[in-house]
Symmetry: D4
Amino acid sequence: MTPQALLAILSEVEQGRIAPADAAEKLAKLPFEDLGHTRVDHHRSLRTGLPEVIYAAGKTPGQTVAIFDSLRRDGVDTLATRVSAETASALLEAHPDAVYNAIARTVFCRKAPAETDRGHIAVVCAGTSDLPVAEEAAVTAETFGARVTRLYDVGVAGLHRILAVRETLAEADAVIVCAGMEGALPSVVGGLVGVPVIAVPTSVGYGASFGGASALLGMLNSCSPNVVVVNIDNGFGAAYTAVLIARKTSSR
Amino acid sequence: MTPQALLAILSEVEQGRIAPADAAEKLAKLPFEDLGHTRVDHHRSLRTGLPEVIYAAGKTPGQTVAIFDSLRRDGVDTLATRVSAETASALLEAHPDAVYNAIARTVFCRKAPAETDRGHIAVVCAGTSDLPVAEEAAVTAETFGARVTRLYDVGVAGLHRILAVRETLAEADAVIVCAGMEGALPSVVGGLVGVPVIAVPTSVGYGASFGGASALLGMLNSCSPNVVVVNIDNGFGAAYTAVLIARKTSSR
Amino acid sequence: MTPQALLAILSEVEQGRIAPADAAEKLAKLPFEDLGHTRVDHHRSLRTGLPEVIYAAGKTPGQTVAIFDSLRRDGVDTLATRVSAETASALLEAHPDAVYNAIARTVFCRKAPAETDRGHIAVVCAGTSDLPVAEEAAVTAETFGARVTRLYDVGVAGLHRILAVRETLAEADAVIVCAGMEGALPSVVGGLVGVPVIAVPTSVGYGASFGGASALLGMLNSCSPNVVVVNIDNGFGAAYTAVLIARKTSSR
Amino acid sequence: MTPQALLAILSEVEQGRIAPADAAEKLAKLPFEDLGHTRVDHHRSLRTGLPEVIYAAGKTPGQTVAIFDSLRRDGVDTLATRVSAETASALLEAHPDAVYNAIARTVFCRKAPAETDRGHIAVVCAGTSDLPVAEEAAVTAETFGARVTRLYDVGVAGLHRILAVRETLAEADAVIVCAGMEGALPSVVGGLVGVPVIAVPTSVGYGASFGGASALLGMLNSCSPNVVVVNIDNGFGAAYTAVLIARKTSSR
Amino acid sequence: MTPQALLAILSEVEQGRIAPADAAEKLAKLPFEDLGHTRVDHHRSLRTGLPEVIYAAGKTPGQTVAIFDSLRRDGVDTLATRVSAETASALLEAHPDAVYNAIARTVFCRKAPAETDRGHIAVVCAGTSDLPVAEEAAVTAETFGARVTRLYDVGVAGLHRILAVRETLAEADAVIVCAGMEGALPSVVGGLVGVPVIAVPTSVGYGASFGGASALLGMLNSCSPNVVVVNIDNGFGAAYTAVLIARKTSSR
Amino acid sequence: MTPQALLAILSEVEQGRIAPADAAEKLAKLPFEDLGHTRVDHHRSLRTGLPEVIYAAGKTPGQTVAIFDSLRRDGVDTLATRVSAETASALLEAHPDAVYNAIARTVFCRKAPAETDRGHIAVVCAGTSDLPVAEEAAVTAETFGARVTRLYDVGVAGLHRILAVRETLAEADAVIVCAGMEGALPSVVGGLVGVPVIAVPTSVGYGASFGGASALLGMLNSCSPNVVVVNIDNGFGAAYTAVLIARKTSSR
Amino acid sequence: MTPQALLAILSEVEQGRIAPADAAEKLAKLPFEDLGHTRVDHHRSLRTGLPEVIYAAGKTPGQTVAIFDSLRRDGVDTLATRVSAETASALLEAHPDAVYNAIARTVFCRKAPAETDRGHIAVVCAGTSDLPVAEEAAVTAETFGARVTRLYDVGVAGLHRILAVRETLAEADAVIVCAGMEGALPSVVGGLVGVPVIAVPTSVGYGASFGGASALLGMLNSCSPNVVVVNIDNGFGAAYTAVLIARKTSSR
Amino acid sequence: MTPQALLAILSEVEQGRIAPADAAEKLAKLPFEDLGHTRVDHHRSLRTGLPEVIYAAGKTPGQTVAIFDSLRRDGVDTLATRVSAETASALLEAHPDAVYNAIARTVFCRKAPAETDRGHIAVVCAGTSDLPVAEEAAVTAETFGARVTRLYDVGVAGLHRILAVRETLAEADAVIVCAGMEGALPSVVGGLVGVPVIAVPTSVGYGASFGGASALLGMLNSCSPNVVVVNIDNGFGAAYTAVLIARKTSSR
């Protein structure tokens, strides 16, 4: 029900065309959130101002293209994540102006000119194997209008590499740290900066890394109190929250 | 907001004392579920017709008595579960007509005459150590108006015991099976009856029983398709659902 | 041994053709359940009145077709679940009147006219990735004679979607809720309805979803007392129990 | 080494009192971070402007009082968390102006007038058992200068309670959600607001809650992309990060 | 129902006092196993010839004494395991001829003269901390009539100790090996003997021993094919099975 | 060193050709077990009288054939387990008299006439999916000279099937029970017989079966004290131990 | 058997008093390691030259004192670890010259003058809660004759603290790093030094630290290749190995 | 920045060409470790004197060749581990003088003549399936200049095999033990030698081996105090640390 429809009912009550008791029964059952929008994604987009995102894993190329088409018709910026090579080809054929990032596994299509800078996010990763997750975060954040600084291959076994980028880290509004294996990097970065650090455990490693669970546990037990954690390999979620943090900062 | 309050607003619109636009703004923000009741337990009680239940674990005797008092003032049957001996004493002092079941760890107080039979529930358990959980289930079900048949100490290592109660099982509207250790009893019972079996893993056992986790896993993997599972030691939840099943059956 | 055979033995005793001691020895060893049926599946079918079901996972197409043939010869409705595309082809070739549901991975063949309505079951799922499990549940329930309402894509991150279907949920005799990831949907649905909710964790997710274990744990810890749980991806078991609940309700 | 000391060395080089080679050896070994502060906590306090915090768990009352004394002598606001009743008595005896919060298990002592508002944080919890964690978060955030709105006892089994506080949630700069059992509340809250949600799993529950692990896993798998997670019962860390988010927002 | 009772019914049929149809109905419902004994423990005792055993953990002293009394009245040897000091006192007061083993936590009472040798069982353990489990096994086996050789403190870090008892091991009919920590001893013993080795993981250890789970896993992965495993700390079960093996051997 | 070599040294001492002190030094370092045989498998074969067994998993066809050749040259019965189809072809080509069992994944070659009966082993399994493990056990036991009775498809959800084979079970010297899913069958069988029951959890199942871990845990927690357990899918180990039990019994 | 006894046998052979064949039989069965010492600890002490150590956890004060007495009578340095306050009192009463370290939970008694320096070991820990484990390591290493440098409270959240001790670390022959929570410190230290780093996870932490398991997993997944790991809280084992490393280095 | 560059700056200060304040600002920000080398691997190589190593898993053949080329240009010995057959071909084509070890999955290229002996390392493994891990360790150690003795196929189920190599073990400076399944071998070896034992759990096994986790847990709980552990299958890390131990020993 749109606000217009609500107003219409109330006008009818005012004009005596609907009895108050009948209107009461009708209104009492109204879904709270269902005023003028029917799909959650559109609703979220309206509320946050962030583009629509399609999680392509587990969807066929055809399904992904169909959803992509529908969103573009709505005239919004559109991002697809976890895109396979096959799905990427299908999307690029249908949308030649879309941009495919093979490492990040993303396809993005911008409709309107990019917003001006919406904050500064640093994306840090420990090793080259963490790149797909780090790039998913970086591309997502850029798509959402943030300025992104990539600081890759700065593992804790060589502290000078982290120290060398310390000033850059300190300038960011939020820092995303992707790391597999022991997941120690977020604690070290958290000790160097005074902003929120979003830790992304990656499934990089073997043996007792247990598919990223060891890195996840390490990050949850971080001794730096400004470290928060998302799911294993969830670069998208880290970027989403980082943008919410950074944008607020820069928009005031 | 009560239905009365809603009606009042709409009457004011009808009488022109509130403009439709103002009323629309007011009503659009109304919490959907908040018409005439403010606490979820009351709401649930109204919807299901089952008595109020206080989960006493983690509450002080004083807190438990206070909530118990409040509910009795509302004139509803009242049940407290996971009651410690100390809390039980406090409740009995305040409510001399309440009934304490030390094994089930429950205190119950009935206000109105008990409903007539609301279905038949069999509560089965494998060993004497499972009794507290089985009794929590049995007392809860009785409190909610069901007729309960207790079939205790019928473990799978002595099949003749289960077979001896087979006819009784078959007559129930729902069967609750409490078992620790390997948790095999629900599968065996499930194969004997044609009604839903609600399996309750108990924390009985040692070593690789891992606090009931082994029994839980066994029940989730049951080869009998009419077995559903609740949390470890959750006799209350099993009874709650069993009553919903049995009552419908018998009330039509 | 059939009841007829038992009667025959006793008649021979009456007529003095078998000595009591010999009959005693014979009868003492009789398998308790083996009176008149020799295979458990037939027995279950007789007891519950539900069709035969073949779990096709881990069986070759040839094996599945052979069992399917055998059951159809017995003149009963026949359902195969977890059917691969290859097995589905083989079944359809042998039974052109069978119906294949590619999403639910089921093949069904009805012999007699469908029973009249045996209760109403709502099948709810959180996302499109949960569809195979939800459809397995829905098709199974329909096969067993229930009326099924499908309420798909109503995840907890957009409450208005759940609230929009609240009335439909409240009309069901039992609700099946399939959800992966955090498995929060059954708790929310359980709070909205006064009937049993059967929660089915799905293996949807990645990273710390651990193949559905996180959703399973969430559901077992539900704060709604009318939620019971089955194994990960076990849409069939959920439907089987839901039909037992719904049928009783509607048949009286 | 302070910046002054560094300047002194370089001046001595300029004046020819130290040979460049000797200075080079001296400077090459300088600890990078050790310019003007020797203890990490002081350093963190200087960098973030947040008060000193003592984690009192595992420290004797005497040790805690000694550290508390030392920090107060530095003239900074001082907060102790996870304070036992015994330690609280010792602290209050030594610092009669300190404030003890028995539920939050905190002792706080403010030296200078509280800062003006540094952002708005909503602290939400699902049940009364989650109060100690929620209060630890709330008191920490207030100590750090944030305005805190407490929204307690709004579990997912009664959606109307969450919906009733929806507007308040939407006004916060960051939301902290504490929940045990299935840990579903952060996803629901995350779907209602457009700001970062920091989820704190609590060790509330029994059986398959596994000391909070189930709630933790549920939160990590949240379908709301604006949900980030901290360790079980870590109300302090959640508040620390929330203040970093909220303060930036409001200070610009 | 006893065999006598069954014979009585059939005689009545023969004499025409009961109609075959009535007898058929009566017999068809007879529990298969319930001919002549009504409690599983008695049944098991009759079948195996082993004494009755009371698992005292989780039972009050009063309950344990009551069951002990009842069994002794039946004139059978009686063993109680997992006996607390308090329960032991109560048992010894009631049964002054009973024998209490404080390390094994057992109380035993023999009625008839002990059977002659029923096989030879070696009980091996790795360290002094494993003694309670090893003694539970040894006392149980002796109670059941086996000759027991104790070989204690022969951990794998000092192979000469194991090699020194090699001949004794080789003479046993079955070997029980109790070990905590890494649980390596059963594999080593299994390689030295040609008889079944029953491995009992103990909860001895700390840290990553996880309450005996590590020892359990080690034993399940044994490279010696004659190693079988029981639950953590289950000395009783190991002895029970060892006696079944050893007795057969020696009784023929 | 062979016994001959030892004798030679001692003779040299007797004859004064080696000084006692020199001989002492030489003998003190002798590997204890290395008197006349150099490979463990030969040693085990000599000690137990059981044929050689090759575990083919993880070996190439060529490697497996080479070891098979070597063992046959020694003139002993030879069994290969976990044989792939490709390896089986290679073995059959090289040893046309060998027998391949595709379900059990074994290849066996007998050199001498089979031994006379070495005891009676019952192999029980719960479902058709457990067949490969059950057959590995059955074929191994037959290879080792035991008489095997196969009792398949007797799951606990249909007790009449187990009860129907009760007498056969009771006649065995040892019972092997293979079961996946909830792993309840060994407890039920253990309650029916008075001989050792060797439980083999199988990796059959899905979701919360966790690759057989749930069945394993169920079996370790069995309430039947005559149940011992081996590794998941370890039909070979179960048969190996069962033969050691059964052979002793029947050979005396 | 002592070397003397062996020599005696051989002399008898030389003198013709024992036939070579009889001696051969006798010697072939000699336990390999059992020449002149009967307890493993003595053997280990002889082989490594390190003092005897008593692991006092799980032993009564009386037992511990008895073993301590026995070892001192042998005239060796004696160390007891995991000593409770009660046991410490008993030891000090019996051995007034012993030294009790309450934090390390050790009691030590030196017989001969301490050896000269046997290498240099650095013991590093992350926080004050790790002190008991770090001190157990430090005291053990000192007892064994090593020079120990303690570098405490150098967690990764404040890198300047680690960098400040970098030169000291680089001078050690081996480094022991004790850390709980995320266990990141060994990786950082491993990157700074060119010697072996022995990582000791501690059980410090709460919630998802799971009693030290998270720290353990982090250390096993270290990206520094010179990091090896011991059991949770195993300061003793870390020191034992570190001394073996350091002593070799310095003794040449 | 090289030491030369640092000296240049200081000389400019001495000569008055840079003001002390400007130099102070410049030097204060210098990354501590970044004096004269910019990549961590080079730094580590310089510090330890060990060759560069490329971990090829997760890198394409092209990427691996490119890094290999770059390192060789630097004139250092170069080792690649976890090399697939495809990558090995590419490396050998580009570097015909490189040596490929298919079992160890390594490619090595020596530039300068091999160093003289840098210590003696024994590599022990339990079964033939552990060979790839053992060979990775052996080849790595040889590459780093150590003398390696391979002692393969000496599992604990046949102790004579271990005892036969006892003297060889005792001569090593460090021992690496690779074992899967129950992981018992390191404890046994640790009891035989007086040097550090580095245990490498392998992922060999099935069922309850859980990909090497059981072996890992066994090794962490070793009763031999000279056993330290690395990650599952981490033959490289074990060799790296073993060389650090052995080299120090032999170089003095």
